[in-house]
Amino acid sequence: MPSTVKPDLASPPHALKRVRWRALRHLRVGAGTVALVLLIGTGVAHMVHRSSLVLSDARRWAALDLREARRKTFGAAYTDAIQTIRRELPSDATYLLVPRSTPVGWELWIRYDLAPRRPILLQPRAGGGLRGPKGTAVPKWVDWAVVPGDEGVPVLVTRGQLLSGRRAHDAGR
């Protein structure tokens, strides 16, 4: 026999269940709505503020030419040293690159700033001296080397200067 009980006359447990389900649904929808409103409301305000900061920073930098902008970003001594090396080392030259222990990645910065000059990375040997890629000897056909100077400023030296300096360094240890 089909049920003829009207919804509002449903048994108390069912009615209670429905009320609970509705409340839960309202809570869920409310929570989702609040989360969305909060995300967009605070986010839009933050992005407008952040964009205005970026724009005013860009306005300050707009007066600088590329060289000045680089000096301001990477430091005057570093930028000038890179310019000097770029003048002295032909663009198709190969050079030996000796990394610096800190900060990590110093050699990556140098490689980019001296590109398209071709670097060969040297590493300190455990027993002293330097080694080339995959443990090979330091290549004899490369005449120039770039080594870290004070505070990460790169210095261009000859291969002979590099090796004699390294021997003196190892002897002093």
């Binding site: 989360a35 860009a58 990556l108 980019y112």
Partner: protein
């Protein structure tokens, strides 16, 4: 803003936008596309076309990469597009985009607000790019360094990449974005890195427009509006140098190529021209980053799957879907052959060597690796950083959970699989490196960015359900 660099930036963007517009005129699938959406796809197609053309012409044709080749690459689609446009105008077959439906004042105000915010953020990223030198990590370590090396050699097969002794990081990474940089520098006759930085900045508005398109297609205007606002609340995507639009990383371009290809292929009734455009974008994805290969592959699998589903249900669009997928697959396969051929002559060094140790078995077993799970605290720290993501990961999961779309409906399942692909690939890769936590820290945000288009399309589906629940509550 220096006038020279502003002019260079405009020229850089026009170099890709012009040929891209030519392509969208030639491909009939874009005939009814509105201006904003057309501009987004035109920009992506322009970068993809010029990058692919230079890559193939240099590697297979041995042609020197320089200004003449760049202008030739741009001239072909530009002239073809102009010829087709004139033909359409003469025969009066030019299809105007469908007239916009009348909107409610509140919604119209919302779209105006969204446009203003997107324009403000995009312009500030561009202004930053035009005034600051390149100082992000991967841009200087890999992408822009490679660009200088191949520009000097005039070839993607530069001796420095092939010589095992030279110090080149990730020498086997695909070169599409470095080629885009070279194209800009050659076309503008400049060495000023600020010109190509504008190219990366322009990917941000393209991503915003892709998210609008994805949201509107599957969830309607209102959900698209709110979802795109949610995207625009994330600070790191436009402003961060390490992976955002303010740097020269390849993740944002990859997110756009992958998302754009997905949008063009996963649709009710794609045309072959949609397949060709999707193929160009997915081929560009393959040649942009290593992750592009699985992302392009999964897009093709999903498109093929939707064709087979249509076949089973005897839907009329079976032929269209399969033809579009076949056209896209052909282009992706060609890109894969190009990548494989180019890479075979480049000895690997200064790289994590994922490919050397890759196997399907190791990929699957890596998913359960303890090393990957050890990255979870770092991943959580990245996602819940309000400086990077704003309140996105505090709020969006709640929105999603309170109105989760059902997985049984095809777009939801497809979008979920597409969004999960970069995440799963990264998760497996973390188990292969000893410093997994470090790698998770520097890559996780970018992995999520790669999944942005399908991810925000999923969020839009949830927002639509939330909106309809709110409406029914009001009615009650």
């Amino acid at each position: 803003m220096p006038a020279g660099s502003a002019a260079g930036a405009l020229a850089a963007i026009a170099l890709f936008l012009g040929p891209g517009l030519g392509l969208t005129v030639c491909l009939p699938g874009f005939a009814k596309t509105g201006l904003a959406r057309r501009l987004a796809f035109a920009y992506l197609l322009g970068v993809a076309w010029i990058g692919l053309f230079l890559y193939a012409a240099s590697h297979f044709g041995g042609m020197p990469i320089g200004a003449p080749l760049v202008f030739l690459a741009a001239f072909i689609p530009l002239s073809a597009g102009a010829a087709v446009a004139v033909g359409l105008l003469v025969t009066r077959k030019w299809l105007a985009p469908p007239a916009a439906r009348p909107r409610r004042p509140l919604q119209a105000l919302g779209w105006i607000g969204l446009s203003l915010l997107a324009a403000l953020v995009s312009f500030s990223v561009l202004a930053n790019a035009l005034t600051h030198p390149l100082d992000d990590w991967d841009g200087r370590m890999t992408w822009s360094a490679q660009a200088i090396f191949i520009r000097e050699a005039g070839s993607v097969d530069a001796e420095i990449l092939r010589s095992p002794k030279t110090f080149v990081s990730h020498p086997r990474y695909p070169l599409l974005m470095p080629l885009a940089q070279v194209a800009v520098l050659e076309a503008t006759g400049s060495d000023d890195e600020r010109a190509f930085r504008a190219v990366y900045a322009a990917f941000f508005p393209a991503l915003v427009l892709l998210v609008v398109d994805a949201g509107r297609r599957w969830s309607g205007r209102r959900a698209a509006l709110l979802t795109t606002f949610a995207l625009l609340t994330i600070p790191w995507i436009p402003f961060d140098r390490e992976g955002g639009a303010a740097g020269a990383y390849s993740d944002l371009p990859l997110a756009c190529f992958f998302g754009g290809g997905l949008l063009l292929l996963i649709r009710g009734r794609p045309r072959v021209s949609h397949g060709v455009a999707a193929g160009l974008l997915l081929a560009a994805a393959v040649l942009t980053k290593n992750e592009g290969l699985p992302e392009a592959a999964i897009t093709l699998v999903l498109a093929g799957g939707s064709g087979l589903t249509a076949l089973r249900r005897r839907v009329r669009s079976v032929r269209a879907r399969l033809l579009a997928t076949a056209a896209a697959s052909g282009l992706v396969l060609a890109a894969f052959v190009l990548l494989f051929s180019w890479r075979s002559a480049v000895p690997n060094r200064y790289d994590e060597s994922y490919f050397e140790t890759f196997s399907v078995l190791s990929f699957v077993s890596n998913l359960a690796s303890g090393r990957s799970f050890s990255t979870l605290p770092m991943i959580a720290a990245r996602m819940f950083s309000t400086g990077m993501w704003g309140l996105f990961w505090w709020s969006a999961p709640l929105v999603f959970l309170t109105a989760a779309p059902t997985l049984r409906r095809p777009p939801t399942t497809f979008l979920a699989i597409a969004a999960a692909t970069p995440v799963v690939v990264a998760w497996s890769a973390y188990s292969q490196v000893s410093a997994a936590i470090y790698y998770a820290g520097v890559t996780w945000n970018r992995i999520l960015l790669q999944a942005a288009v399908p991810g925000f399309a999923l969020l839009a589906l949830a927002v639509r359900r939330l909106l309809s629940a709110v409406r029914s509550r009001h009615k009650a």
